[in-house]
């Protein structure tokens, strides 16, 4: 039985070639093999959303994706949100300014989901934001500050686009 496979993928803009156990999840590949521990495991059955990353521009549960399935794909995680010069993505700024996190465990998944939402729908209503975020569980905040943060990010990103 071939227990390992070699994959090539891009993570946060950087190319990797790694040998991975076929049963390893993408989440564990990111965390253990690449030491990108910002993507979190809250349930390992796809419900809580803490493990959400972007794969070829679309949000996916990295706990339900095998590392071997990430071969020839482009992955973005929370670590990839800030620029090379260290400047934060607008969504990170908005979450900070609006107290959109408490324990921070769910935050990586929310940031990724919010980025995908605003890419598809740059000017969402509050209800659209709530619905888009409904697949990410937060146990600390009651969601109010998170929704505010995403609405603020949407506004600020639209402003930036105008200038």
């Amino acid at each position: 039985m071939a227990r390992d496979r070699t994959i090539t993928c891009k993570v946060n803009g950087r190319a990797y070639e790694k040998s991975v156990p076929v049963r390893q999840s993408l989440a564990d590949f990111l965390r253990d093999t690449l030491s990108l521990t910002g993507t979190h495991l809250g349930c390992e059955h796809g419900v809580c959303g803490a493990c959400t990353v972007l794969m070829n521009g679309r949000s996916v549960r990295s706990c339900l994706t095998l590392a071997v399935q990430a071969d020839e794909t482009d992955i973005v995680t929370i670590e990839g949100l800030r620029s090379d010069s260290g400047e934060w993505h607008q969504i990170q700024k908005s979450f900070h300014e609006n107290f959109g996190l408490q324990c921070g465990y769910c935050t990586p998944g929310f940031l990724i989901t919010a980025i995908e939402l605003l890419e598809e729908n740059p000017d969402p209503t509050e209800n659209e934001v709530r619905e888009a975020l409904s697949g990410n569980i937060c146990r600390c905040s009651g969601y109010s500050a998170i929704v505010t943060a995403v609405m603020a990010a949407a506004r600020d990103m639209l402003e930036l686009q105008k200038t």
């Binding site: 039985m1 071939a2 227990r3 496979r5 076929v22 049963r23 999840s25 564990d28 390992e44 059955h45 796809g46 959303g49 959400t52 679309r58 949000s59 996916v60 549960r61 706990c63 339900l64 994706t65 095998l66 071997v68 399935q69 071969d71 989901t113 995908e116 939402l117 619905e131 888009a132 409904s134 697949g135 990410n136």
Partner: protein, 293 residues
């Protein structure tokens, strides 16, 4: 919750995929979206010896709209369904039901054919396919065969797929012009599996209900085709003055005929009751959407 070991193949053509699946034998499983299979592996409630990952088979990734049929290949994701204007306009029941499936990240990976193959009684797609009188195209190294949605389902989480067989396409006949379509479900939270759901298609011509299709989701065995309720409606005068009584009768018939299971979310009695309530609501909505014909 780490998956046990398995053999893994990622074929690039359908031919290769079917051969691999055949060679994998009884404990081989197709990996498409993985949104149902991977949780089972992580929880170690499934331990397939082989995973045949079909995600690299481009030929399976087609969403084809023909004049009288919608054909979805095995790699069409729920998200693809939601993005399709043709489906929204022509097969609105399918689009509406798909909005209820889980959440964005799940929909980005989960596939329609995967859902049909998994046949969870609380899932939307099997019931919707049956409401359209849809068919399932099954392929193996022996060739392909096409069966009706109802024939395909073999009970809870069970289908007629034999080892070495996989679903490569599902087909939805286009409903008649002016048909009213509706999907109504009740779940504890948005995106949760339906406690009960109803897919309804009504064709009304000159004030008469010419055709009614009603499937109930969440009843325990697989999609429940409510033929008794359909018969109550078919051929009857259906207008503002008769609809309330007809829909009440159809709803009562559904409650008589379903045999729902109980689980942690609901007793069989509550499910039965809900099936009745949602039947009425789905019929009202479908009727309101019938075009003037």
């Amino acid at each position: 919750m780490k998956a046990p070991w398995f053999e893994y193949q990622a074929p690039r053509t359908l031919e290769e995929g079917l051969e691999t699946l055949r060679d994998a034998g009884e404990d081989g499983r197709v990996l498409s979206g993985g949104q149902s299979l991977m949780p089972m592996l992580n929880m170690r409630i499934a331990a397939p010896t082989h995973l045949v990952d079909i995600n690299r088979i481009d030929a399976l990734n087609h969403l084809t709209v023909e004049s009288d049929t919608l054909r979805l290949g095995a790699l069409v994701r729920h998200a693809d369904v939601l993005r399709s204007k043709s489906i929204r306009e022509g097969w609105s029941l399918l689009a509406e039901a798909t909005t209820q499936i889980a959440h964005i990240a799940i929909r980005n990976r989960g596939t329609v054919c995967g859902s049909i193959s998994h046949n969870d009684p609380a899932a939307e797609h099997p019931g919707v396919l049956a409401a359209y009188d849809g068919t399932v195209v099954i392929a193996s190294t022996e060739g392909t065969r096409e069966v009706s949605a109802e024939e395909f389902s073999d009970g809870m989480m069970s289908t007629i797929l034999e080892p070495g067989e996989m679903v490569i396409e599902v087909r939805y006949p286009r409903p008649a012009p002016g048909a009213g379509q509706a999907f109504v479900e009740y779940a504890r939270r948005l995106g949760d599996f339906a406690i009960a759901g109803v897919a309804a298609i009504l064709e009304v011509r000159n004030g008469t209900c010419e055709r009614a299709r009603l499937t109930i989701v969440g009843m325990g065995d697989g999609p429940f085709r409510a033929t008794g309720a359909e018969n109550i409606l078919t051929g009857e005068t259906l207008d503002a003055s008769t609809s309330a009584e007809l829909f009440a009768a159809a709803s009562a018939k559904v409650m008589d005929e379903v045999d729902p299971a109980e689980d942690v979310h609901a007793s069989s009695g509550y499910r039965r009751h809900l099936a009745g309530v949602l039947t009425k609501r789905a019929l009202i909505t479908a009727f309101a959407r019938t075009g003037g014909v």
